[in-house]
Symmetry: C2
Subunit: 190 residues, 2 copies
């Protein structure tokens, strides 16, 4: 159970066998059907989700009623609304399965408990979020410095396999433009 998560943790910190057992006892696994919501706007985010297989996304609804995707999580990524998770206040976001997805669930309560028992995991999560935040800093740089078309090509070169996996309208909003515009970029060249 949860072996892919155990492998992931091993890349950052070493756990004793005891600790691994404690860890496992704090986790639960679940299979989620495509389009299922793990979190909805206004709800309090109760867990951090690790993707074993499949794909999740975070999005919100803008004033015109359109979905704006903010973040994707594929295999070996965690996803949550940290603001809501941390402060246990209502979320601004939806979290939804893009595909049928297998996840590991770490609830707030379990995480708090786990981090008290296994200090090494403080380090794991620190390194993890630091890496995630670094990626976010770079993403903001690209949002500010590249045109829509440049962002698409850049993303396409960086994650060619991933572009195939998600509907174009999700990708378009993630990259910060309309689905029609993405369609026109792709018509320009393959």
């Amino acid at each position: 159970m949860g072996t892919s998560l155990h492998d992931h943790i091993k890349r950052y910190v070493k756990l004793t066998t005891d600790e691994q057992e404690i860890l496992t006892a704090h986790l639960s696994e679940q299979s989620i059907k495509k389009k299922t919501h793990l979190l909805k706007e206004g709800e309090i985010c109760r867990a951090n989700y690790f993707v074993v297989k499949g794909c999740l996304r975070a999005y919100f609804i803008n004033e015109k009623g359109g979905e704006q995707t903010c973040q994707f999580a594929i295999e070996n990524w965690w996803i949550t609304d940290y603001m809501s998770f941390d402060t246990q206040t209502p979320s601004h976001f939806f979290i939804q399965a893009v595909e049928n997805t297998e996840i590991v669930i770490l609830t707030k309560k379990m995480q708090d408990d786990l981090l008290k028992k296994i200090p090494a995991l403080e380090r794991y999560f620190r390194l993890l979020i630091q890496r995630t935040y670094a990626a976010s800093q770079l993403r903001i740089k690209y949002l500010f410095s590249q045109s829509g078309e440049e962002r698409y090509h850049h993303f396409n070169e960086s994650f060619p396999e991933f572009v195939q996996r998600v509907p174009q309208y999700m990708l378009a909003s993630y990259l910060g433009f309309s689905p029609e515009f993405l369609s026109k970029i792709r018509a320009g060249k393959t």
Copy 2:
């Protein structure tokens, strides 16, 4: 020395007197003149900076040669390029003093050492970055959902005192538009 940092840490974790001394021994303080650079593009980011008094910013130069401000740090905020700091690779960013600024410096080496000696600080930095990343998630939401004018008004309401503190051209680029446009927004109403 570094008392404002000690106070800040106290809000998140408790340290013993011994630990506080170890901490102090790993830090250095410095006064930085306005416009001084702590990091330049292409350099490896060697430290994490805590602002005691004053203001720092991170920016990069876009293809047209203009400065694009990505982040500000005022009193009680840390700032660094986590990507470069973490992996010790060349940075994409500049870090510069907006005002004359007093900082506490925690070098990469000192941080590594410190976190080995004081596990509680792993927790401090985890909570800190988690909070920072949460703010970044929200910022991306606003970048995607609000017009330039809306972002300005929203920012102005959220941080009225701060808007007075930085040149408009820095604020404009932070909010994602040109200084001329900001000028026109302000002409619309006070």
